[in-house]
C-alpha cells in the first residue's frame, strides 16, 4: 500500500480517460486485492466478494468519465465497491439464506473453541482472525463499513467521511462505538 508509484492514481485515471488502456490495467493491479480485502471483510464470502470486485472494476471501465478530479481516486473506487457490497447484502437478506454471520454468539462458541485468555493473545492465531471476522459481521452495516475502512484498510477519517457521505464527527463516533462493540463481543468469546 505504501509502495512508490511512477504515476499517482489520479494521473492514471486521467490517462485512462484519455484512452490509455494500460493505465486501466495498472489501476486494476493496484486495487484488486485492496478491494477484495475490503469487500470480503464486509460480506464474509470470498466468491461473492470477488464478483463484487469484478463488478467494481468493470464499472471503473464503463463509467471512467464519471470520475472528476475533485476527490481522491481511492475514495471514488471504495464508494463504488461499498455500494455494490451493500446492495449484495440487501439481496442476500431478502433471500434469507442462513449463513455463519447470522449465528449468535453461542453458535460461535460451539464452532470456535476459545483457548486463550487475553484478547491480545487470541488475535495472534487463525482462530482469532475468524473470531474477529465473525464479530465484524455482527456489527450493523454503518458501523461495519467505517471500522473496516479505518482499522483494516487504514484510510483517514476524512477519506472515510467522503466515502460513506456522513460528517467527520459522525464517522469518529461510529468508529469508536464499533470498536467498543467488537471488544465486548470478543470478550464474551474468551
Amino acid at each position: 500500500m505504501d509502495k512508490e508509484f511512477v504515476y499517482t492514481d489520479e494521473e492514471l485515471i486521467a490517462r485512462f480517460q484519455n484512452g490509455d488502456e494500460q493505465a486501466y490495467v495498472e489501476l486494476v493491479n493496484r486495487y484488486r486485492d485492496r478491494l477484495m480485502t475490503f469487500v470480503y471483510r464486509f460480506v464474509n464470502d470470498e466468491v461473492i466478494a470477488e464478483d463484487i470486485v469484478q463488478d467494481t472494476l468493470v464499472k471503473l471501465y464503463t463509467h471512467k468519465d464519471y470520475y472528476r478530479n475533485i476527490a481522491k481516486f481511492s475514495t471514488w473506487i471504495y464508494t463504488i465497491a461499498g455500494n455494490l457490497a451493500k446492495t449484495e447484502l440487501r439481496k442476500k437478506k431478502r433471500r434469507k439464506v442462513t449463513n455463519l454471520s447470522d449465528m449468535g454468539s453461542e453458535d460461535w462458541e460451539y464452532q470456535i473453541p476459545a483457548v486463550e485468555r487475553d484478547t491480545g493473545e487470541i488475535v495472534q492465531g487463525q482462530f482469532a482472525e475468524r473470531q474477529i471476522q465473525k464479530a465484524i459481521q455482527s456489527l450493523p452495516l454503518h458501523f461495519r463499513t467505517v471500522v473496516i475502512l479505518r482499522d483494516i484498510q487504514e484510510l483517514s477519517y476524512e477519506e472515510i467521511s467522503k466515502i460513506v457521505e456522513v460528517p467527520l464527527g459522525t464517522v469518529k463516533s461510529r468508529i469508536n462505538r464499533a470498536r467498543l462493540q467488537l471488544q465486548e463481543m470478543l470478550k464474551e468469546l474468551r
Partner: protein
C-alpha cells in the same frame, strides 16, 4: 468524568488526539477505575490485531476473467454509450440528440412567431385596418382639428359633480316629468 464519557474518548486517547487537559482527566479516571484500563488495553490490542489481518487476495484467473467481461461490455450496444462517451461531449449541458431537438424547437418557434407579426411600414405605428380605412376618408385640411366646435370641448371640461356651476339644471325645468318628494 463518568464511564460513558470515558468510553466516548477511548479512540481519541489511543490515537493521541485528545487535548492535554482532557487527556489528564482521562488518565485520572483510569487511575481511579482500574477496570476501565483493561477495557482500554483490550481495544488497543483489537485495533492492532485488525491491522494485522491478512490481505485477502483475488483468485489467479481474476484478471483474465475481468478482461473478458470488459471486452463483453465494450461490444455490448447498450453499454457503448458509457464506454465511448467522452468528457465534454455536451452542448450547453445537452447531449447532441437533445441539443438538436432543442435547436429545431427554437427555430420553429421563431419562424412561427415571425409569421404572426403583421407586415408594417418602417415609419408608422401599427394600426388596425379598420382605423387606417377611416383615416383615409378624412378630408385634408391645413390644420387638422379633431373637434371643430370649441364649446364642446369647454362643455366637456365642466365637472358634472359641480352642483353650483353654470351647467346646473335650473329648478323646476323637469317639474312636469319628475315628482320630487318635497313637491305636493
Amino acid at each position: 468524568m463518568n464511564r460513558y464519557q470515558f468510553e466516548d474518548l477511548i479512540s481519541d486517547y489511543i490515537e493521541n488526539k485528545l487535548p492535554i487537559a482532557k487527556r489528564k482527566e482521562f488518565e485520572a479516571f483510569m487511575e481511579a477505575n482500574p477496570e476501565v484500563k483493561d477495557q482500554l488495553e483490550s481495544i488497543r490490542s483489537l485495533m492492532k490485531s485488525m491491522k494485522k489481518l491478512p490481505e485477502v487476495k483475488t483468485s489467479d484467473g481474476f484478471t483474465a476473467k475481468l478482461m473478458k467481461r470488459v471486452e463483453f461490455e465494450k461490444n455490448r450496444p447498450s453499454a457503448k454509450k458509457y464506454v465511448t462517451s467522452a468528457v465534454g461531449k455536451t452542448y450547453f449541458g445537452f447531449t447532441p440528440l437533445y441539443a438538436t431537438v432543442m435547436t429545431a424547437l427554437v427555430i420553429a418557434f421563431v419562424v412561427v412567431g415571425m409569421q404572426l407579426v403583421p407586415k408594417t411600414n418602417n415609419n408608422s405605428t401599427v394600426l388596425p385596418t379598420s382605423i387606417t380605412a377611416e383615416t383615409s376618408i378624412i378630408p385634408n385640411s391645413s390644420s387638422p382639428k379633431p373637434y371643430q366646435n370649441d364649446d364642446i370641448m369647454l362643455a366637456e371640461d365642466n365637472d358634472s359633480t359641480d352642483v353650483d356651476g353654470p351647467a346646473r339644471v335650473k329648478s323646476g325645468q323637469f317639474d312636469d316629468k319628475i315628482k320630487l318628494v318635497g313637491n305636493k
